[in-house]
């Protein structure tokens, strides 16, 4: 009997329990599918759970989770946070930094020497090594160890970090790329001049679920309509913009509409809006889906998404979405699915949300449309075949 294919995934965190994040979830789900297909899968990650502190919270070592051998390595101590923040701030303000400064930024980002040592010693045993997301020093340095067998799953966004010299070098150095959507692939091709024959658009399958919107409303005593946002609350995700817009919407239209939040991260709402926010924090998948199903819309104000699992989940719950137009990926999902609207500024947000509130039949039709789109495009059977095709492909790159 032929020995099974052996593959490794590398990511700064492994999605388990309170560790969440779209990219981490995506990598874990893909790893699980490969296990189900009979592959031998190792997941190399750090002992950190919290993406703000990067403290080593999990014991180093090996654990088998859902058939995946997860190998935990400690995050290096002794980061020079001052140097890191200094360069990061300049990059964030689109100030040009030198290659040396970029390297200083990487060196003081999240690194794990133990993980690099393991890859150096054992990396040749894996047929392919899938790494992501792109914006971590861990991936930058790990991708240099066995570039000939490394496939980057970047979860790329059109943001200032994507324009760094070292990031470009990383993209050009690896064997191939797995993208989540066509707009993400096109962005990478445009930024780095990639040979797209070495890429595949894979995405992630979304499991179907049953949701009970009434149960959610009842258990939270909600009678007013609400919009929902799930995920990390931070400026990069557009949370402050959503809070300002909803506050303005309530003020200008006089409509009593609430905001339901699930996920983590601090936020600072306008005083008038604060009593109208139902912050659930971490919730079970079932509760999240129930909350989505009862919402007027799922509002995603981020312009930095390479896939957006949550809007696909929202469509599975038959709820339309309202997304920022400046990102490439989410409006593209909306266009293809006919399942949502997009806004460039506050007036368009107000008109879009008012329309969804005033026309329940349209809202329902959009939700249904979105659901059909996810069931067709993101059924696991379709994703799995794209993933296997990508992994079994011979990459005609510079290393072959």
């Amino acid at each position: 009997m032929a020995s099974p294919h052996r593959i490794a995934f590398v990511s700064p965190r492994f999605s388990e329990g309170p560790t969440i994040g779209g990219a981490e979830t995506l990598l874990r789900k893909l790893a699980e599918r490969l296990v189900a297909a009979g592959w031998q899968v190792d997941f190399l990650t750090t002992c950190a759970r919290n993406h703000f502190t990067w403290e080593n919270e999990i014991d180093p070592g090996e654990k088998v989770i859902a058939g995946i051998t997860v190998r935990y390595f400690p995050v290096d101590s002794g980061r020079d946070l001052g140097a890191f923040i200094d360069v990061q701030n300049r990059i964030s303000r689109s100030v040009e930094v030198s290659r040396d400064e970029e390297l200083t930024w990487h060196r003081n980002n999240v690194n794990s020497t133990a993980l690099y040592d393991y890859l150096r010693a054992e990396g040749h045993r894996y047929e392919k090594i899938v790494m992501g997301p792109y914006l971590f020093a861990l991936i930058y340095f790990a991708s240099q160890i066995h570039p000939e067998r490394t496939l980057l799953l970047p979860c790329l966004h059109n943001e200032c970090f994507a324009y760094l010299k070292t990031i470009r070098e990383m993209f050009l150095n690896v064997s191939g790329w797995l993208f989540n959507t066509e707009p993400e692939r096109d962005l990478a091709a445009q930024l780095y001049g990639l040979d797209l024959s070495r890429s595949e658009v894979v995405g992630m399958g979304i499991d179907g679920f049953q949701a009970d919107p009434d149960h959610f409303r009842r258990s939270h005593g909600l009678t007013a309509p609400y919009i929902i946002y799930s995920g990390r609350r931070e400026p990069m995700k557009g949370t402050p913009l959503l809070l300002d817009y909803l506050d303005m919407f309530r003020e200008r239209t006089g409509r009593d509409i609430k905001l339901v939040l699930t996920g983590s991260g601090p936020y600072d709402p306008p005083t008038r809006l604060a009593p109208h926010i139902i912050d659930l924090g971490f919730v079970t998948e079932q509760e999240k889906h129930d909350a989505m199903a009862g919402a007027v819309a799922f509002c995603h104000p981020s312009v930095n998404e390479s896939f957006s699992i949550v809007i696909l989940e929202s469509w599975l719950a038959e709820t339309p979405v309202l997304v920022h137009a400046a990102g490439d990926v989410m409006p593209s999902h909306c266009r293809k699915s006919n399942g949502g609207l997009w806004f460039r500024n506050y007036p368009e947000f107000e008109e879009g949300l008012s329309l969804l509130l005033e026309y329940p039949a349209v809202r329902k039709a959009m939700g249904k449309s979105g659901q059909r789109y996810v069931q067709t495009e993101y059924a696991w059977v379709s994703v799995e075949s794209r993933l296997l095709k990508a992994l079994l492909k011979v990459y005609p790159g510079r290393h072959q």
């Binding site: 913009l241 312009v303 006919n338 500024n345 007036p347 107000e350 008012s354 329309l355």
Partner: protein
């Protein structure tokens, strides 16, 4: 406040068309002044970075800024909510205000001057670059018209 100018059937929903309708409605409402004001400009503070590519947005933002740029330094009615002591407290506040008025007027009128100058400078830079881009585009079009057909 939004009105319902849309005529949408639920069957065969077409989000591209709905979004186009939304944009038309917004354009018309902006023309009528329904979307002007300092508060709106404030709501867009986190959106500026996202819309660098959007020319129309910049115009809209400048419009809002024009409305917001001057701090209102006119005199205002002095009131007191606590009914019992109201006459006394109002008189006290009026006295206090008459003492501070000169300094606050001076401070805020200077702030208004700074705001106004900054706005004018931004508008001037914007106008200059628009003119420059227009000239360059005309020049490119002229040069392209001289090229032999492919």
């Amino acid at each position: 406040m939004s009105t319902g100018p849309f005529e949408i059937g639920a069957d065969g929903v077409d989000v591209e068309r709905i979004n186009a309708d939304i944009r038309d409605t917004v354009a018309a409402k902006m023309k009528s002044g329904a979307y002007a004001g300092a508060q709106l400009a404030r709501a867009e503070r986190f959106n500026l970075m996202n819309l660098k590519k959007d020319e129309n947005f910049f115009e809209f933002y400048m419009e809002s800024l024009r409305e917001a740029v001057y701090v209102d330094i006119n005199d205002f009615e002095i009131r007191e909510r606590r009914a019992g002591l109201a006459p006394l407290l109002v008189r006290f506040k009026k006295t206090l205000w008459s003492l501070l008025k000169f300094y606050t007027y001076r401070l805020w009128s200077q702030q208004n001057q700074v705001n106004g100058l900054l706005l004018s400078a931004t508008e001037e830079v914007d106008r200059k670059y628009r003119d420059k881009i227009k000239t360059l585009e005309e020049r490119i079009a002229k040069l392209e018209s001289r090229l032999p057909p492919a």
